[in-house]
């Protein structure tokens, strides 16, 4: 019983439902429905807490107190905000496409909640153990882009449309390094299933075997989540707010639920794919301990997400795209190629394999830094030469 508490509970519910006179297949379907409802509710309730955490940590990073009035340490601030938002008027701008306008906010949340369906929370505790888990993550994550586009388009507002266009340019660009970086854990685990990927990290976490791929995945999924410094889609100082200007009340609130939850979700995904998920000492004897390990690791990565958000200013759109296409994409292709060859050559060498993969990543990082230094130097030289020419022309003219 202690070995598999979730399966035991599932069996218990199943026996109970069948004893009520339900056919076993229908009992299974009802169980799946209950489990899906429990997961979706838990994740959405978690958001209440996450919004508080993010505001509090961000405030501390900026030398403020953050929410501290409603409840102990301002813990109930989010609940008060939610009640306030529900009581506000839902304004539909004139000329808006009403169907798409109301379709967008729940879709934004759905794309994030859907991601949790394949995140392994503890041994044998996972929504769905499908063998194409990684591709599922990519495709469901892309629905978020669609929601932003729908919102920007249907609002009948130029700024909203501008924000949506920017988003499409940025989000689809950052999907490329994310997809390519995801090839590395797939390769190391020999499977696209998320459960299998966690299971295969028993010997060594993938972040040790492929630190560059982990970093690439982390950065590009931060851009996917629209976290600063990649928060162009709602640049309040440039295009008043971006895709969600015309939204009010809870329709607006749902975009924020989706965004805050996405921040934690990328932390959880990074942990599951690269930091060993629920793995930790003693996890085989007490499976529910895995949930604790998973939560702790995710919390650490989530803190880094907020830290970066509180530290870096927003990038310009041309900088964002240049950073992606001219830096992240070539580096991700090089990482996949280098990892594939090295792992094949060093297969079955035990500890030397880890060292070989680490070495290749180190060489790659070094090469990247050298290339960047040379590039920066050539840009500086070109600039200095151009300035000298302008100066010479000015003296010649007298």
């Amino acid at each position: 019983m202690t070995q598999d508490p979730v399966g035991w509970l599932g069996q218990l519910i199943h026996t109970f439902l069948v004893s009520l006179g339900l056919a076993p297949e229908w009992a299974r379907a009802l169980q799946a429905f209950l489990a899906a409802g429990a997961l979706a509710t838990a994740v959405l309730l978690l958001t209440f807490f996450l919004i508080w955490v993010e505001r509090k940590i961000l405030a501390r990073l900026q030398d403020r107190l953050g929410p501290n009035r409603v409840g102990p340490y301002g813990l109930f601030q989010t609940i008060a905000d939610a009640i306030k938002l529900v009581l506000k008027e839902v304004i539909v701008p004139s000329g808006a496409d009403r169907v798409l306008y109301f379709l967008a906010p729940p879709l934004a949340v759905m794309s994030v909640v859907g991601l949790w369906g394949v995140v392994p929370l503890a041994p044998k505790l996972v929504g769905a153990d499908i063998n194409v888990g990684v591709i599922y993550l990519i495709s469901i994550g892309a629905i978020g882009t669609l929601a932003v586009m729908l919102a920007g388009w249907s609002s009948n507002n130029k700024y909203a449309l501008l924000g949506a266009f920017r988003t499409v340019a940025m989000l689809i660009s950052y999907e490329v390094p994310m997809v390519v970086a995801l090839l590395v854990p797939t390769m190391l685990a020999g499977s696209m299933g998320t459960v299998e990927i966690v299971e295969r990290q028993r010997e060594m976490w993938f972040v040790v075997l492929a630190p560059i791929a982990a970093l690439l995945f982390f950065i590009s999924s931060m851009a996917e989540a629209g976290k600063a410094p990649f928060d162009l889609l709602e640049a309040e100082s440039e295009i008043v707010a971006g895709y969600n200007i015309e939204y009010s009340s809870m329709a607006f609130g749902m975009f924020f639920v989706g965004e805050f939850l996405h921040g934690f979700t990328i932390a959880a995904l990074t942990v599951a794919l690269f930091f060993g998920g629920w793995l930790g000492p003693g996890v085989d004897r007490f499976p529910l301990l895995g949930l604790v390990y998973f939560a702790l690791k995710s919390a650490v990565v989530y803190f880094v997400v907020i830290w970066i958000r509180g530290t870096l200013p927003r990038l310009r759109i041309d900088q964002v795209n240049a950073f992606n296409w001219k830096f992240l994409v070539p580096l991700s292709l090089a990482t996949v190629a280098a990892t594939a060859v090295t792992d094949k050559l060093a297969a079955g060498l035990g500890w030397s394999r880890t060292l070989a993969l680490l070495g290749v990543n180190g060489v790659l990082a070094l090469a990247t830094i050298v290339a960047l230094t040379l590039y920066a130097r050539s840009v500086r030289r070109r600039k200095a030469r151009a300035e000298r020419r302008i100066g010479a022309a000015a003296t010649a003219r007298g």
């Binding site: 899906a36 769905a128 340019a169 590395v184």
Partner: protein
């Protein structure tokens, strides 16, 4: 296997309905006093000039094209990566050849200046 997909088929609609409920609730509970001023498009107090669904720069379209090329080809790499354990060295090298072709596409787009934001 089918059980697992059933779970996802139930989770996605639930993920849509649960956030839709508060929006419907706020439509019921919140005030409904509309007037032309309030419903007009928000542009910091300036009235909107012309059509709001404007045509937009071709630049975004070019990025989308480059993206489609990369994403589709990257999806072809996933079966290769999933079967990695069973591959011989020369099969791995064939995969690398494919990645090099991808990289050539990137270099082409770069040299053509399609990656510059104008």
């Amino acid at each position: 296997m089918l059980d697992q997909w059933l779970f996802l088929a139930l989770l996605l609609p639930l993920g849509f309905i649960l956030p839709a409920v508060p929006i419907a609730l706020s439509r019921l509970v919140g005030p409904r006093k509309s007037n032309p001023m309030k419903d007009s498009a928000y542009e910091c107090g300036v009235e909107t000039v012309g059509d709001t669904w404007v045509q937009f720069k071709v630049q975004y379209y070019i990025f989308a094209l480059v993206f489609v090329v990369f994403d589709v080809e990257a999806v072809f790499l996933f079966p290769w990566a999933a079967a990695y354990d069973r591959l011989q060295l020369y099969m791995v090298l064939e995969g690398i050849l494919f990645i090099l072709i991808l990289a050539a596409g990137l270099v082409y787009a770069w040299r053509k200046g399609n990656l510059e934001w104008v």
